[in-house]
């Protein structure tokens, strides 16, 4: 199982803040998860693949090559603007 979270304008564009992926493949990377999501929701392609989208795995910023394991929480979000 993977938990996938979306924040801010990305959350609004996709129309969802959270997805559960019950049966991910064993050897997925972040990039594989993104490909899977775009396969399921082709209308997300532009938003999810935008060059400024940041990904975090278990609350740590991670690059697309990072391997995933069951139980991971993966977040997609735009550049942060707090402070």
């Amino acid at each position: 199982m993977l938990t996938v979270l979306f924040f801010a304008q990305l959350r609004e564009r996709l129309g969802t803040d959270k997805l559960i992926i019950e049966t991910p493949a064993e050897s997925w990377t972040v990039a594989d998860l993104t490909k899977h999501l775009v396969g399921q929701y082709p209308e997300w392609q532009k938003s999810l693949l935008a060059s400024n989208i940041i990904t975090a795995v278990n609350q740590q910023v991670a690059d697309k090559a990072q391997a995933l394991k069951s139980g991971d929480e993966i977040a997609y979000f735009p550049p942060v603007t707090g402070g």
């Binding site: 304008q9 740590q60 977040a75 979000f77 550049p79 603007t81 707090g82 402070g83």
Partner: protein, 155 residues
Amino acid sequence: MDTFIRVSVEDFSIADEVDKLTNANVDDGAMVTFTGRVRKRNDGHDVTGLFLEHYPAMTNKLLADICQQARAKWQLNRIVVIHRVGQLYLGDNIVFVGVTSEHRGDAFAAAEFIMDYLKVSAPFWKKETRANGDSRTDEWVEAKASDQEKAAHWS
């Protein structure tokens, strides 16, 4: 060597936070505080309010990590970092960073470093309510290249 981190919809009292930094503290000659507040003009827009969204599980980790990095760079004693979330209006407090140190140079550098890193790495997002005559629109604030440059300057 205490670090106080809080993310909250509640407002904070600068006086209370200053008390946390200085109470029974005769080790430190220097305290620097930064307070960020909602201002009426941003990037050429009239602003009437802000909504602050965040990624709760990640913000505390991230803020603690920035404080650790600051402690590795400078000799610091107490640190307070507070960030508000939710709906804020003009003049409201958004963020507070306070540090104490024996020496003022360390205190100034650390407070600015924490703010610069918070700006580019802590998972908060601002949605601005912009006024244009009588109409109101809610728009996500764009990240600024100048903030990336400020943070890069520390490494």
